[in-house]
């Protein structure tokens, strides 16, 4: 598959550029638009608003929590591409129309630009966050 490698390279370029110039050049932003389509602008908005938090437990386990526009908190996994938002379930899982949802893209962009908030929690609290998602989904 080609697209993931392309997406990854684009994000790396963004990271490199940001590290060197504290800025993201226009062509890379347009590249984001090209690859990720309609998710690009909302993802950047989430980054602008510092909506991404990296949650870390003492064992080293991490996950990401993204505050959505509606005020809802979504959880994104570190180990694989997964997000608890409905758009992920629909566009990515069901229709395979998108590589990522805007929340996962926001996680990567926040990583690239050092815009993640950090939160340290206990092992149990991390587990509870994951389990809480399960309960919500019934």
């Amino acid at each position: 598959s080609t697209l993931p490698a392309v997406a990854e390279e684009l994000l790396r370029e963004i990271r490199k550029a940001f590290q060197e110039t504290s800025q993201v050049p226009d062509d890379l932003l347009l590249g984001l638009k090209f690859i990720f389509g309609p998710s690009a602008v909302p993802a950047l908005d989430l980054v602008d608003q510092r909506s991404v938090t990296r949650v870390r437990a003492p064992s080293g386990r991490t996950l990401y929590q993204v505050l959505g526009s509606s005020g809802k908190l979504y959880t994104c996994y570190s180990s694989c591409h997964f997000c608890t938002c409905p758009a992920f379930g629909f566009s990515v899982l069901q229709k395979s129309e998108s590589l990522l949802c805007k929340h996962i893209l926001a996680v990567y962009l926040s990583q690239a630009m050092g815009a993640c908030q950090e939160l340290a929690v206990s092992e149990e609290q991390l587990t509870n966050i994951l389990l809480a998602e399960e309960e919500d989904e019934g």
Partner: protein, 658 residues
């Protein structure tokens, strides 16, 4: 959107880009020719197209810069020319309608991206792309595009592949194997200890997995271990028809059909997860083997390999099959629940009965079914539950499978002469001690209907015609107040090895068989006993005919050599001492059903000696009807043809019980 943020910036850039794209496209259409600015135009020839998440990926060859009048024939693929991966958005792809061998011009601003570990550069931002159209073929190409679009391969991206943005990690992107989400069902490899031919893989215990692996690499080698719950024969779908051999007389002789019956041996198997499957094996040359297979195979484990899926059927479409499956539900031992680890097996008290079932068949050629005949009966096996007929008649359900032992008293073939003998339905009148020992309330004898789809072995057919038989009815169907033998019902003469509840003792009859006497509750198509007084004779129905003393054939012919001798074409011999059968309809007055006119077709066999006398008497018309009137007729066994209420008449036929 945040003021001055990235999102706002991208929005502005995007709007600008969109206007540029529509302006450019408009220019292309209106000019009718390619815009003159040639610098920076990328000319590519598409070799292959596939799709990933709405992005169209085109593997292309970059062509040398040349004029717009380049014809595709000139654009010979030169191995030296570089390969590119050109990405198009869904909207651009729809606009281009490109297919392999097309030549595309990509105008700036396009972007080139070099991937870390790949040689092939990627071209992005290809909004300003145009296809070079050939004048002759353009229309045809447009039409076939729609079809070709459907054939574009779509790659599904794995979610396990995450992005690493740091340079400190490996340049080669790796999937973190320990965090990998397993997407394929876990294969439970239960004990690789079985020594199978090297071509076959380790044994699996899930039918569903085997079914899902169909078509995948190595599926032929997948083996599944299952328990054989039932063995039976099904008529082949091609039509359960054997040739009618001339005008076969309807007689009481064994049906000697030399054509092989078109039946297949089938197994109903169950895996460790409780899932059922019907496996259709080879055609049987002789139905006599059914009993043997039943005895040797039922309850044993076996390994299936290289099965082909014939059908996936559901409850609504295969009522017969599911009535059998329901009789085996719930499982007698806990079954595995998919998704759980191997060690924890769940109880099955609340599992709903299955709603679908796969019908499998063997690949032509070898049979990949290995039955462990030496091994013990599996715990999962549920032998048929045997009940007395009295209990069965009281079952309230519909379409319940039931098994019982019974004594067959009388057999009657449905006489539709247009239908070949082995396709005819048959009525068997049966009884057992539970029915015989009851004083009143339930019938003493029950009619069991055997449909053409119930495969009977030759052995059973012969035995039924010859003598009163104790027959084991396995998985007959009870419904609407009738017991019927349908597909998957098996009639056996020998007791199956494992039966729950007392089997044969229920059917041991302690005395002579008694039939219900004719009364107001008697139904048509039943048998009964009657007694009464002759009150009339229907002389027009008096009839006599000679029959073969060997086989009972009632259609004797005159010998071609000597026209005074009779010849039986069933025995292929001359009949020297024919048995005369006489038939007469008499009217009886029966005290048990005094309101009705009882008309009985009685018949008797008389010997040759009396034959001559009677012929003379009939000829001389000295036969005195009067001598018959008033005669008491003892307990006759009769088959009830019909019962009418207006006039109130019962028509019966005297029968001989087996």
């Amino acid at each position: 959107l945040c003021r001055g943020g990235l999102a706002e910036r991208l929005c502005r850039l995007q709007n600008r880009e969109r206007s540029a794209i529509s302006f450019w496209r408009h220019q292309c259409i209106s000019d009718g020719k390619v815009p003159s600015d040639k610098s920076g135009v990328l000319i590519v020839k598409i070799l292959e197209i596939f799709e990933e998440c709405t992005i169209q990926v085109a593997i292309c060859q970059q062509l040398a810069q040349s004029s717009a009048t380049l014809s595709p024939e000139d654009a010979v693929i030169n191995a030296e020319e570089p390969i590119l991966k050109v990405l198009f958005t869904r909207e651009t792809a729809a606009h281009l309608k490109s297919s392999p061998q097309d030549v595309i011009h990509i105008y700036p601003p396009w972007q080139k991206l070099l991937l870390q570990n790949a040689d092939v550069p990627v071209i992005m931002n290809t909004y300003f792309s145009q296809k070079v159209l050939l004048s002759e073929h353009s229309e045809a190409r447009e039409k076939t595009y729609g079809l070709k679009k459907m054939l574009i391969r779509k790659n599904i991206i794995s979610l396990a592949q995450t992005f690493r943005l740091d340079d400190l990690d490996d340049k080669l992107h790796q999937e973190s194997s320990d965090n990998q989400v397993p997407c394929a069902p876990q294969t439970h490899n239960k004990g690789d200890s079985k020594q199978h031919p090297p071509a076959l893989s380790a044994v699996n215990d899930s039918l569903l997995e085997m079914v899902e692996s169909q078509g995948a690499v190595g599926w032929r080698e997948v083996q599944v271990r299952v328990v054989i719950q039932r063995v039976y024969c099904l008529p082949a779908r091609e039509g359960y028809r054997s040739h009618t051999q001339g005008n076969k007389p309807l007689c009481a002789t064994p049906i000697t059909n030399s054509d092989p019956p078109n039946v297949r041996l089938c197994l109903l198997v169950q895996d460790a997860y409780g899932m059922f499957s019907e496996v259709q094996l080879q055609s049987l040359s002789s139905t006599d083997d059914i009993e043997r297979y039943c005895q040797r195979w039922e309850g044993k484990s076996c390994c299936l390999a290289g099965m082909k899926i014939l059908q996936r059927t559901t409850r609504g479409r295969a009522l017969g099959l599911f009535s059998l499956i329901d009789s085996l539900w719930p499982p007698v031992v806990p079954v595995k629940v998919p998704g759980q680890s191997q060690e924890s097996e769940m109880m099955t008290t609340n599992l709903p009965p299955p709603s679908f079932c796969y019908i499998l068949t063997v690949q032509s050629g070898e049979i990949h079914v290995e039955v462990d005949e030496e091994e013990q009966i599996s715990n999962l096996y549920q032998p048929p539950a045997v009940h007395g007929l009295k209990e069965i008649l009281r079952i309230s359900g519909r379409n319940e499978r039931c098994s019982f032992w019974a004594q067959v008293l009388y057999q009657r073939l449905q006489s539709k002469h247009s239908v070949p003998i082995d396709q005819r339905e048959m009525l068997l009148f049966v009884t057992d001690s539970t029915l015989q020992n009851v004083v009143h309330g339930i019938p003493k004898v029950v009619a069991v209907s055997v449909t053409a789809s119930c495969v009977l072995s030759m052995e059973v057919i012969e035995a039924l015609s010859a003598d009163s038989q104790l027959v084991f009815f396995k998985d007959a169907l009870w419904g609407n107040g009738r017991i019927i033998c349908v597909e998957r019902t098996v009639l056996l003469l020998q007791k199956p090895l494992l039966c729950s509840a007392a089997g044969a003792d229920l059917s041991e009859l302690t005395g002579p068989v008694r039939l219900d006497e004719l009364d107001s509750t008697t139904q048509a198509s039943s048998i009964c006993a009657l007694r009464g007084t002759v009150v009339g004779v229907n002389e027009s129905t008096a009839f006599s005919w000679p029959t073969c003393n060997r086989c009972g054939n009632g259609k004797l012919e005159l010998c071609p050599q000597d026209r005074e001798l009779l010849y039986c074409n069933q025995c292929s011999e001359v009949v020297t001492t024919p048995v005369l059968k006489m038939q007469l309809e008499v009217f009886l007055s029966c005290p048990s059903r005094s309101q009705s006119t009882v008309k009985v077709k009685v018949w008797h066999e008389i010997s040759m000696a009396l034959f001559v006398l009677l012929t003379m008497l009939l000829f001389l018309q000295t036969y005195e009807v009067q001598s018959v009137l008033g005669k008491e007729v003892g307990l006759l066994s009769c088959y009830v043809h019909s019962i009418t209420s207006h006039p109130n008449c019962v028509a019966l036929e005297e029968i001989v019980l087996l």
